[in-house]
């Protein structure tokens, strides 16, 4: 089951070696919270972190991204695309967020391919970290079947310890690139039978450590929502909604964006940028002629929940909600997706 073993200190050294060729992005502490940031020294990475306040999309799909620069002068127009395909390694991605990246990968590759996302993603190695227990109260990753990931990483780290209680990372390869990086490294050792047993123990303990929060099985959520389209719960809950969009913007699977052109003061050149957008914002579904498809907060809330638990899964086959709980935590009105699912089930 395991491919290699490495000590924490050797792993930091390995990442720093990798850092000569790649930007290193991973969890760092700010106060008592963790954020994904670029680091110059892998020793700054807090690999025992609980959760990153913003998911991996904050790096893979930046909040503000320049798509192209243009020049428009005397009737001529030229545009130059801007791509960020600098090699990077994303170190420390939990299984829920690996599932989220899988969805982003699928969405940005379907229909018209999004080169800005795909090039950055293609240049990024992903090193996952398995979590032994829920990272925070209120998460429902196990209900969403996203607390474990068998793919979507180049290398996966399992937090294990050896017979003397020393911490060791158990390594699993998920891609040829991951295998190539570590196979011939003298810092890694082959797993022993005891290491394999430790990994099995870890996985057994993990399976028991994640409580369930949903009263409905995830496969049943689409039908439940189908029957709940006209529920009074949407209005009753949305009366609290600020329509601030915090749930969308912190969601690791929300990928909607708005476009904005910005001119230099010369008025002959400028950039087109995209910015994170969200379906809870009142202007999101506003179209020409001043028509808004979802003018009411209740319609917007219903739309979000339907996207997360029904429509995305039906369209792409992968989870639209990974159960990380970021939306619930970000909501200053304390509107909770889990509560909505459970209340709908109760009313059903």
């Amino acid at each position: 089951m395991l491919d290699l073993m490495v000590t924490p200190a050797d792993f930091v050294a390995l990442v720093n070696e990798l850092g000569r060729k790649r930007r290193i992005i991973g969890p760092v502490a700010r106060g008592d919270r963790y954020f994904y940031e670029e680091v110059g020294d892998a020793a700054r990475l807090e690999l025992g972190f609980s959760y990153a306040v913003y998911g991996p999309k904050s790096f893979l799909f930046p909040a503000v991204e320049t798509l192209f620069r243009f020049e428009a002068d005397n009737g001529s127009f030229t545009a130059e695309p801007v791509y960020d395909d600098r090699p990077a390694a994303f170190v420390g991605v939990h299984p829920c967020d690996l599932h989220a990246i899988r969805l982003l990968d699928r969405v940005f590759a379907q229909d018209r391919r999004d080169e800005h996302y795909l090039r950055r993603r293609g240049a990024t190695m992903i090193i996952g970290i398995d979590c032994a227990r829920p990272c925070n109260e209120g998460v429902f990753c196990a209900d969403m079947k996203c607390h474990q990931a068998d793919e979507g990483f180049d290398v996966m780290l399992l937090p294990l310890s050896d017979g003397d209680g020393n911490r060791r990372w158990g390594l699993k390869f998920g891609s040829a690139a991951g295998r190539e990086w570590l196979t011939y490294s003298r810092r890694c050792t082959a797993p022993t039978a005891a290491d394999e047993r430790a990994a099995e123990t870890f996985l057994r303990a993990k399976a028991a450590a994640f409580p369930r929060a949903l009263t409905t099985r995830v496969e049943r959520l689409p039908e439940l929502l189908e029957r709940s389209y006209d529920s009074l719960l949407w209005e009753a809950t949305a009366r609290r909604c600020y329509s601030c969009g915090s749930c969308n913007l912190t969601c690791p699977t929300c990928y909607c964006f708005d476009m904005s052109d910005s001119l230099d003061l010369s008025l002959t050149s400028g950039v087109r940028q995209r910015l994170w957008d969200g379906c809870q914002l009142p202007g999101f579904a506003l179209v020409a002629g001043n028509h808004n498809f979802r003018p009411r907060a209740a319609q917007r809330l219903r739309h979000r929940i339907f996207r997360k638990a029904k429509w995305i899964r039906e369209r792409t086959g992968v989870a639209g909600c990974v159960g990380c709980g970021r939306c619930d935590r970000a909501c200053t009105a304390k509107i909770s997706a889990v509560e909505i699912y459970n209340q709908l089930a109760e009313l059903d």
Partner: protein, 265 residues
Amino acid sequence: MKPKIAIFSLTSCEGCSLAILELEDQLLDLLGAVEIVNFREGMTERAWDIDVGFVDGAVSTPQDDEEVRHFRAHCKTLVAIGSCACLGGINTLKHYQSGGATRDEGAAHAAGGNGRVAEYRRYVYGENAEWFATTPARPISAVVAVDYQLPGCPMVKEEFVELVKCLLIGKPFRLPETAVCVECKRRGSRCLYEMGIICFGPITRAGCNAICPAYGSKCEGCRGLVSPDAIAAAGINLREQYRVDLNEALADLRLYGAYQEALLP
């Protein structure tokens, strides 16, 4: 022909006018695109043939009232800059220093209505308070028609440049219709609610790039309310979810928002 620009000040600290001079690295480009013909903070010449006039400060004295009408008459486009000009700003706090409980009651006291000279005037001007005429403080839109508003304390200078560019190329200019939370999330800040701080980000218009929460200070609403729906939600949430005394929340909101119509339910 470069458009002729003027910058005027009413009752205020004139910090918004100064914010234009703080554009520093863009100032030369800006001066290449427009001609500034009247600017007390930046030059001595005065001209009154003006394409775009920017005004900071609230209308808080009879003289302000006269001046803002004069600006309007001489500017083809009139822009209110800063919380004072757009919302009345902190000037409107005086209404509540005289015992007024509501906007109109406070304004009546401030005007010296109900047969009493407002206490704040004695506090500020001493025994000769009568020599200094004041009126209730109002945003300039309460006196003259305003074409654009750039709220904020101070105004956001990048937004000022954006408006200038829009005017130069004839592109519609719109303020963001979203709450400050959007910009907090885009810049990756930590939510102050997680630290038990009641922040006005969810009800305040974005555009400031959420600068206060980014440095750990709660949003005080200097750019005005984002929508009546948001303030209605705030009333419910502060009472039901946070057990906050709504009178206290309202008093906090009055720092900039006293003149705004929408009040907590």
